[in-house]
Point group: C2
Chain length 222, copies 2
């Protein structure tokens, strides 16, 4: 696979370790006719707003962005959002389910240093991970909020390297998001794209080192 | 409207002055079953790739990005793209129609300094504008490619200010893209959002100064 296998495995969170589909289910509960559309726009705007704020130099934490994106999505489809529904929809991000294979895969990587790195802020990440069956798997939970630079900015990945005291080449970085894999590759990490949706590779001239359909594939690297 | 009315009017191009819907029509011609989906993904990826490259510090011109985005969209829907079809789809961007009201509105703004500023590269913008009925309307055609910084980066809008030798407060900036309006506002331009699709305002805490459904509204500022 590589001359010197990576000793540090860094995982993205949303869509990579934890399944975000339940967010859509909850949108369907409150907006039965438009739940699919609202949840799709919500996710798109969440990512877009993080990108735009990164570009504009206008940082806000990911929780605020997630709330803003929800407001846009609900307005777009001419629905109302009361405080209670807003709270319940946002709280969904604290109670996501890990993907079925996640725990067993992490358990088999016991001699690697495992960490997570997400654009999510600690008020989102910490309750989610610490209350999940993955709680004991990671040496560190690292948020882009600590450096106020969102992935895929070079400064975001560089921050993680610094915190974990690792060279980029000694890291295997996992994400289900093509853009995140491109950013990690751009920085110099080795990358495994967890391509759960069977999408084509992003056309950014930063191909992943390897592609798997779920986390099981990374056991090749242990 | 304002104590000191702006003397320089800057226009975005795609979706603001020129109608991009014909791109979707052409996609339907070549991919009759999947044209809508392919053209939608194409446009989304075009914007996303510009954002991602801006964030990653990994600039490529907008023509290359447009081509890359097309490749992704076609692969996503499991279609084939031969050279001839690729060429014809991309050439579409050189032959867009101006919106019906554009020419008359620009004609009535004769005492203002009118310019365009687009993320598009000159190989896309110049043939489009110079062969259109809007050819004589503008003092300058400015591309983000000249400074290799895409909107909504501050450096992009700052470049236009410098080239046109204007202070931000003396500019009225028009775009149909909410993110572009947010970026222009973030820099300090006065902004008129041409909200052709009747969308909610972007939740970026950078509201436009005024919203119109098409370009006609800006005649209030003459």
């Amino acid at each position: 696979m590589t001359q010197q296998p990576p000793h540090t495995f860094i995982f993205d969170v949303y869509g990579t370790l934890f399944d975000v589909d339940s967010v859509a289910d909850k949108c369907n509960k409150y907006f039965p006719e438009k739940g699919e559309k609202i949840s799709k726009t919500w996710r798109e705007k969440q990512l877009e707003y993080a990108n735009l704020r990164q570009i504009m130099g206008n940082y806000e934490d990911f929780y605020s962005i997630t709330k803003d994106a929800l407001h846009f999505a609900v307005k777009k489809y001419a629905e109302e959002l009361n405080e209670e529904v807003e709270k319940e929809l946002l709280e969904n991000y604290l109670y996501l389910s890990p993907y079925p294979e996640a725990k067993a895969v992490l358990n088999q990587l016991g001699d690697k240093n495992l960490a997570v790195f997400s654009n999510g802020s600690h008020d989102m990440l910490d309750p989610l991970i610490k209350e999940s069956i993955l709680a004991d798997s990671f040496s560190k939970i690292i948020s882009a909020d600590e450096v106020q630079q969102f992935k895929p900015a070079l400064d975001a990945y560089a921050y993680v390297s610094k915190i974990l005291e690792v060279k980029p080449k000694d890291v295997l970085f996992m994400s289900s998001n093509g853009w995140d894999i491109s950013g990690a590759k751009n920085y110099g990490f080795q990358t495994a794209w967890i391509n759960r949706q069977n999408l084509p590779t992003e056309e950014l001239k930063l191909e992943p080192d390897i592609i798997y359909k779920d986390l099981t594939g990374i056991l090749e690297w242990k």
